[in-house]
């Protein structure tokens, strides 16, 4: 009886680690890619205006920071759900 339980636990652990890795990669790459794009295109974007700010300036001074806040709280929520799922799976096992 012990072996199937261990297998179920291992499967739950592996699924948890895979989903955790996927969320970590998504979160960090989303923000880093956004910063990279904003830095590369800052000068052309500065020709556009948003809320009285040149758009390139706005993105680096405020827009990306607000985006980082949103992503951080999204990450907290998603990761808590992933952890909760693992706990439930282990309890069932």
């Amino acid at each position: 009886m012990a072996e199937p339980v261990t297998e179920i636990e291992n499967a739950a652990r592996d699924r948890h680690q895979l989903r955790t890795l996927a969320v970590a990669i998504t979160t960090t790459s989303a923000v880093l890619c956004a910063v990279t794009v904003a830095v590369i295109y800052a000068m052309p974007l500065n020709r556009l205006w948003f809320l009285h700010f040149p758009l390139g300036f706005y993105l680096l001074a405020q827009g990306l920071l607000i985006f980082a806040i949103v992503v951080a709280f999204w990450y907290v929520r998603v990761q808590e759900r992933i952890d909760h799922t693992r706990s439930i799976n282990e309890e069932i096992a």
Binding site: T27, V39, F53, L65
Partner: protein, 617 residues
Amino acid sequence: MVGPSRQRTPNPHLGAYYGIVASAFVSLAILLALAEQLGWSDGSIARLMMLLPLAFYLVIAGASRTLDIEDFFASGRRVPPVYNALVLAAITVGGTGFFAYTGAIFFLGFDALAIGLGWTCGLLLASVLFVPYLRRAGAYTLPAFLGQRFQSREARIAAGAMLIAPTALLLAAEMKIAAAVFAIFMPLPFWLAVLLIALFVAAAGILGGMRSLTWSGSAEFIAGAIGLAVPLIVVSVLLTHLPAPQFTYGEMFGSLQGAETAAGMSPVGPGEIVPVLPETTPLQAGKPFLQSFGTITRTGFFAIFLCIALGTAALPTLLSRSGVTCSVADQRRSTAWALALVALFAITAPSLAAFAKILMFRDMALVPTEGLPAWLSVLSQLQLAQARDVNGDGVIAAGELFVMRDGVALALPILAELPYVLTALMAAAGLAIALAATGSHLFTLGTGLAEDIYGVIDVRPIELPRLMVVWAAIAACALVAAVFLLVAEVDALRSALTAFAFAGATFFPILLLAIWWPRCTAWGALASLGTGFGILFLCLTVGGFFGIAETATGICAASLMAGVLALGAGVAASLYGPAATPSDAAYFEAMRRPDGETLFDQAQARATAAEQRANEE
């Protein structure tokens, strides 16, 4: 021996206590504003605005005193997420952010935004990559975590030794800022201000360790936030008629560009950020605020951003606070709240710099030397700015106005001709944030030396001597930092940048491998630590002969290169050295479980139980 506390219930009255703290600070400012109208001198107002909050912080630190090991090193692991976030944000921004970053934006405008962006993204990286796992491990210090992860005393000692560079540099930077503000407004000689600040932070750290720093740091952050917000909102209302400076300073860009043009500023060519780094002398503001990539290239901007992000994510002082909350989920939430607070500061700082620049150059556009504005004499008295008619043409242009980089935040209420109490409030706010950061860096340095170097060499199973070693280390570090500041010229921004470079190159690669790669071994850890630290150290010491790492961009590029090589060295040594042991793999798996008691506490509980069984037998 007392076992670790299992009580994990936060104090339910914390909200009321900190409401009282905030109310007391606001009441003090209002009373001093009334006193100013009654004719009290500026000196009395400044002294009371500085000293009363300082006494209050010390009382909070004293009331949080403890001899319990878990309370001293981890604040009892029951700090609510938001309160931990307040201290994390204070450590990340610090006095350097409050004064030097706002000054850097004043001089560099767009080009300095890389710093604030780096802090925010760094906290995101820490939150996602490191913090939950460090909370699960539960080690009191970053080197202790590496020692546990690899079951290696050598890795712990090496990390403890390499922690000295970034932490000591940040300690020196923050202490310099705090002492400079204290010296201006008390007024005191600089050496006396340095000694008093060192005494204050050492006392707070010794009395209750992490517990004192958490509760006094939370109060300091609240004072800092109020003190920054009030003068800035008043200036915003005066200039834009709206109390939201972050969103309204864009309306002033037309006026700003007009003032800059009238003052003779023209776009600068691609050069370097270096002119703003040495702040020992007042500087000329020559770059238009909105000009993008004027003093640094696009690559340099990205290098500074990435270096600061990696350095923030792996900063030992921030990560040593990873074990203070009740659970892994709380620690994650705490870091997200800290990110939000740091981002709010980073969003606010450009508005402060823009308002200061508008007010300064609107009044200074080709003013005859006989008709200089009144604020210039006040700023000259405080040694924050001075005007010199260099070419003798009888007018002052932008190039003839010299401003102290770290004094821009203090200059704002003076430029807007606000009541003096708001200048004192801004100074008290910056001082509070600098003290919170100084105390935490000092504690991290002291515990690193005592626990990770001395403690590993000389293990004593008795509680009191263990704390006494930490007290001695904290006192010694405070004294050495004070003496260093008295004999050496420290530029806060350059020191902080170098500290983030060291943290990123030394600790980011090994933390990434230790937490995300089960195959990583103690050999890999030693190789990674040695490579990252060694290469950056070489670049900073002998790189000058070859034109490497002389400028901010150069330091950041060297840090990134050292980090990449350290990652490679860690992977290579792990793959080609001895394989990971089964206990390493078991620790790795246990560390990644999201629930349950910390691994450190489990080990402590097992040791206590074994000791009790041995005593019974």
